[in-house]
Subunit: 343 residues, 4 copies
């Protein structure tokens, strides 16, 4: 059985695990104050050309809700695409922290500077605005939940708009490595550090056992963030496990190499489907590919392969997701392509 359902089916990349094993019996301080976390933080600052604060948290929902709770005042909400992870797939974690998610209609999972500006202008122009949730932050994901990417130009405009309207800009990079490694991507880590107030580099979906690195560039958001981590159960006792994993991934570019591999395999799969006439939903250059399949096609592939069924179209066809990862083997993709060609 082939597995293209998600990018977190295996454990860690062997290099990551090796690092954990090699240091296992060392004694360090807890809670992320150890030398490995310091080293990993320094490395990330170097890669980002930033002197921001770097924190290591365990998972994406945790880091999203923590930074949003840290940034917003009680009456503020967070603008995002309707398909944004915080709006859909975090069981209302943001609302559980007291804040409304303010979804905007996305296009290919993305929103635009113009939409954000319009939302802020409309808020300010409303005589009843004190009865409305005030936009206080913009949440983007890069790559988006649909695998697409913001261009540097798009991101720059959004950043400017946020600064004009007094909004924090936060980018969820749960799959950032796949974005950085994607063909055509022109957004670098220093760009993110310059344009955003906070962003993450995801480990869980690119070879770590778990872990997200949060870079906070805005001084006001840096202040006391570790208290908020602890309050929310987001401070790992043996925090060095996070630092060590990011060191293994980032020190020699492993993170990007394995992401590039996953992207290549994903595009091979997409190509096979396209040749077969199956439409792609979104122009994704990264490791997630969304395909429209007939029930017959989906059924035939199910016999050989795990993939996600995302939703059903009114005409009965299915939106499906095929996902590769650092662990995807080329020969497995070959096999999948064979099955696609046989549809």
């Amino acid at each position: 059985m082939l597995f293209f359902e998600c990018d977190y089916a295996e454990g860690a990349h062997p290099a990551v695990l090796e690092r954990l094993c090699a240091t296992n019996m060392e004694q360090t301080e807890g809670y992320g104050t150890d030398p490995y976390c310091r080293q990993a933080g320094n490395l990330i600052r170097t890669l980002c050309a930033s002197d921001g604060a770097v924190h290591f948290l365990i998972g994406g929902t945790q880091v999203n809700t923590a930074i949003i709770a840290a940034a917003l005042r009680p009456h503020q909400g967070v603008l995002c695409a309707g398909s944004g992870h915080i709006n859909v797939h975090e069981t209302g974690g943001v609302e559980a922290s007291g804040h409304k998610v303010l979804p905007l209609p996305g296009h290919d999972g993305k929103i635009t500077a113009a939409q954000i500006a319009r939302a802020c202008d409309a808020h300010r122009a409303d005589a009843s605005r004190e009865h409305l949730v005030q936009p206080g932050m913009v949440y983007l994901s890069q790559p988006t939940e649909y695998g697409t990417l913001y261009s540097l130009d798009e991101l720059r405009r959004i950043s400017e708009t946020c600064r004009v309207h007094g909004l924090w800009l936060y980018v969820d990079g749960a799959r950032m490595s796949y974005g950085l490694a994607a063909a055509g991507n022109d957004v670098t880590l220093p760009d993110l550090a310059r344009l955003c107030d906070a962003f993450t580099l995801g480990g869980t979906k690119t070879g770590a056992l778990f872990g997200e690195a949060l870079v906070i560039t805005a001084p006001a958001l840096q202040n006391d963030f570790r208290y908020i981590m602890k309050q929310r159960g987001a401070m790992l006792a043996k925090g060095r496990l996070l630092g060590l994993q990011f060191l293994a991934l980032l020190e020699d570019g492993l993170w990007l190499r394995i992401a590039a591999h996953a992207n290549t395999q994903a595009l091979r799969i997409a190509g096979a489907f396209r040749r077969k006439g199956c439409p792609l939903c979104y122009p994704s250059p990264t490791n997630q590919q969304f395909l429209i399949l007939t029930p017959q096609q989906a059924g035939a592939l199910t016999a050989h392969c795990h993939f996600s069924r995302w939703s059903e179209l009114p005409d009965g066809r299915l939106v499906t997701r095929f996902c590769t990862s650092w662990a995807t083997r080329t020969e497995h993709v070959d096999a999948l392509i064979g099955h696609i060609e046989a549809l």
Copy 2:
């Protein structure tokens, strides 16, 4: 200047104020445990043919957020029309209590039993449902924010759907009197008591200085509700002020008589606009009428009259609201109609 902007521009109906003055120097227990609150509660139970619990709170946002917080578990949200007051005009009060509002596309401000069932079925069918907010309650407003009414048949189906799917059904009756008194309405208070788990009878917008009566028919929601009121600052120290006002409004049907007057005047206004060819947005038989006016028409009326500008249509025309109340004088409506005819 004529005033049709809202239904809470004046103080209280004279009969209400008189009751407050007559009892002013009496000494009673505080916090709603006094004889007047008891009497008013009994009267409401009689009118509703229900043995439910009755509580008196000060305002609508307070009562909505309190009953929702009391009813839902942390991972649950509340389904409502996109135009629902809790989704739009309470500064995220529900989210501040930790719960996501789950808006459904409304039609004339209403949602249907079928929509609710579909939302619940979709939730249950989603393999990732634990990552989604679970529907736990349905919020309706009767009349809706657009002045429209649920029919008994519609309400009955919604109630059945809620029971099938394990959802609480709560009806926000901030303008309930106008609904009960409306031509064509077939939903009575005993219907509400039978079909809903909780609902309110609004005082603020029908002649009280302030105050909403909350009827809780579901025993599980009755339990300890006064603690939750107090926690949220919703327990008035001199609670009898609420009981007294509801007694004055409800004892001899004053509440319905003044609402009927307001409805009549509202329909006179709507008729004048219709005769002039100005389209009505919604089929409202109650005291709020939403009209589409050209900027010229709106401008001309602005010279004589306060009304609300709700939104702007893509073609530049304006959605406006004209609102009557218990205090609206017939001669003022005559004057407004004169201005409409002169457009």
Copy 3:
């Protein structure tokens, strides 16, 4: 039956009610944006010699939880005396907003600058401080829950300590009038405005139907406070009712005159008890007097008079509270004194 149980047993002072009746049929904007609220705000600013923001809320729990939620970041808590209203009698309203109350042992209901400094120093010195709630605000009540008063010197030291340690200073003045009018009080409204970041002038317990005026002097706390009021159901639709009442109370010093009357009567009661040998618990110069009575004494008085039983001492004696108000009649106090003398 005589009534000394609390200071909110009656409705409003006649002058207050008269003002509401006189303006009842006027039409004004809602939500506190009307001319009466503006006037009352200006008057309060004048009395306080401050250009702070003034907001009118309905009750004490509401105003306490709203200003605390507005001021604190998620990981911060509020220092107060263990007997502080927010710690004891608000059903955990502060915690429901996400913040821990950090009680310090009080003396006569008060805490000291030294205690506050020690708490902050201890926090900062703790290597695990990120695992502790960070003090972010000090809550005082003036008069305290026990009727006692902070002197100007005490308040000044607390204010300095708060500024040194970066804490907001908030004073709950639910019974402020009684404090201002008390013999020996040396804290004025301009002192409060100069020394605190926010404080309230209570109406409910001094002649209003309801209402607390919140003065916010710290610019950072002024920002967007009305959004937070609305979110918490603390923005009264017919907001002018609050402005009108405060105008009636404050315009010609009525507020202080009636408080002085209540204080005088309270001290007469305390004197009678003292002559009888019943110990006073606290040195209160205001309208609340706490007496230690034997069960026999308490029982004898219960036949004639309502008062509060606060707690029971290990030796079986009772701590009781006798409370006067603007509405307390001298002849009723005479009668009570007669009963005390007959004990």
Copy 4:
């Protein structure tokens, strides 16, 4: 340098790490729905002689706040010893979920059934109880934060009291293994399952990289708990990492063997101090020993050894903690004892 500062300075027990490495490249479902979590859950149910629900979470603060949020209604709080971890060392995580911690004075870190009963009786007897936070749960830690243990008899009485008063009983077992393995302990896992509504078996402090197993025996608390985990960022994407670690620890009793070793070493240290005349603070039979040292003694040991300084006594002496773990080497304890003897 010797390390006795905490029990989470190393990584994982080699057997745990080996298990993770051996299964690293397997593909499983995410979020704890994999076969390893199922197996580990079954094993725990067998060990507990219970058919309760078993969930695996990452850390202690997370599991404490999640189960408390899942169990309490908005107006309820949780009773615990003043020294309880949730009251002191979780940065107000419980309050951030909206609930007040209700501390009772502990004795050796423990509270009694009688104290709990008194708190509930006092609440119920208070005429103003609706203004107070209602006790809804009892939180114990076993072993306590001071290393002490509840006896079966004490636990049974607390359990009965909780049932009589309608309180949930939750036991935080972050160091449960050390308790189970302690000399004189008479509380077994089946006892906990029978007497509590929920309890945890801690992994982080006994040989896991991280992880707490939560056993929920009360059906009402089992319902939808995974939603609440996800909402709070407590559902690990690669959930099998938790199941695998608990299998490694529990399958053949490793967990208890390594805890017994740690206890033995801790008691050797305590014995050395006692022989030297240094008083023990608490009668701890587990891996944490609290000693009172003079500043000179503490200073002398600091040259050789890491340990925790807990607090300072009024006479200047220090309360210190020496902590052993599965990883503590006998020869390191020999060395420490040598240093103690040389004091």
